[in-house]
Symmetry: C2
Subunit: 187 residues, 2 copies
């Protein structure tokens, strides 16, 4: 079970995520986070010293597929679950952190942080694709090429979802295209 400190931290991060999605990074202050969480200034600063610290924690939580790969689950199942998850995110523009991410990147010099995040995300997808090729479930594609497609296409559609209505069909197009390139089948 998480300790009280851990659940408070999680609550702060979740609440801040809502603010960052809505207002970007620049316009969210520690005071805003106090108000939204109902914590006192002391209560908040016990856990985090700045909005940057909260934001970094928030964007660094991506899970890899390693456990499911180790458990020898089918690559296609892992892929389909991940694509469903991404589809859901695409259709929930209110939770898009894109604006906040790019504001954050433009204020501080966080190039190294983002380079690491990008590398980690790319590796995560390349691992899954390579695994699926090994088991013979996926077509013999270039894992890096498809990993980039997955990452950048996703990011682009998330960005557009902030400024236009992304239709269910566009979210489906995304996951179907990738599924078809990897397995030859549509969902």
């Amino acid at each position: 079970m998480p300790t009280k400190g851990e659940s408070t931290k999680k609550m702060i991060i979740d609440t801040a995520a809502g603010l960052f999605s809505k207002k970007g990074f620049k316009d969210v202050s520690m005071t805003d986070i106090c108000e939204a969480t109902g914590l006192s200034r002391g209560g908040l600063y016990r856990h985090f010293s700045s909005t940057s610290e909260i934001f970094i924690r928030l964007i660094s939580t991506e899970q890899s597929f390693n456990e499911r790969i180790k458990a020898k689950e089918k690559a296609a199942d892992i892929l389909k679950d991940a694509l469903s998850e991404l589809e859901k995110e695409i259709l929930d523009p209110k939770r898009s952190l894109s604006l906040a991410i790019y504001e954050f990147a433009s204020i501080d010099d966080n190039r190294k942080l983002f380079t690491d995040l990008e590398k980690k995300a790319r590796k995560k997808w390349m691992d899954l694709i390579s695994y699926g090729i090994e088991t013979g479930e996926f077509n013999p594609v270039d894992p890096e090429e498809i990993a980039e497609l997955l990452l950048y296409y996703y990011q682009g559609i998330r960005m557009w979802s902030r400024v236009t209505d992304i239709k269910r069909k566009s979210a489906k197009n995304y996951s179907n295209l990738i599924l078809r390139m990897l397995t030859g089948e549509d969902k």
Copy 2:
């Protein structure tokens, strides 16, 4: 030949583009644009009444492929030229307006503007893809699916180019993937 007023307008838009790329939308003021262009306040306001007006003009200038299609040029040639152009843009992150676009969208209610822009860009690509399918140069893909891939993948890679180093290989991966999906060949 453009009139003096037209060239001043163009100079203002070009200069402002540099500022918006660097600082986003929120942090650029009319005063900044006066300073960067060397115009007086009166000189600038004669042409534009706000940074919004300049910005809208800037992002609304995309050219369609219609003239080249009417001239019956080869679809593959039009596509290759367009992809080379996009590759160049990807490798020039200093000219990325992504941050400014999303800041602009989050400040004012510009949903309609962006919906129109997206529709226009989507149509432009769908027209080219449909034309190439008609002439038999392109595979019988779903034009809308590939148009979305083109647009969103591009936007995503542009966003990442602001915060990490996008390598020449990633720009090539983008255009090669699209070329291969449409024509079956690599560049």
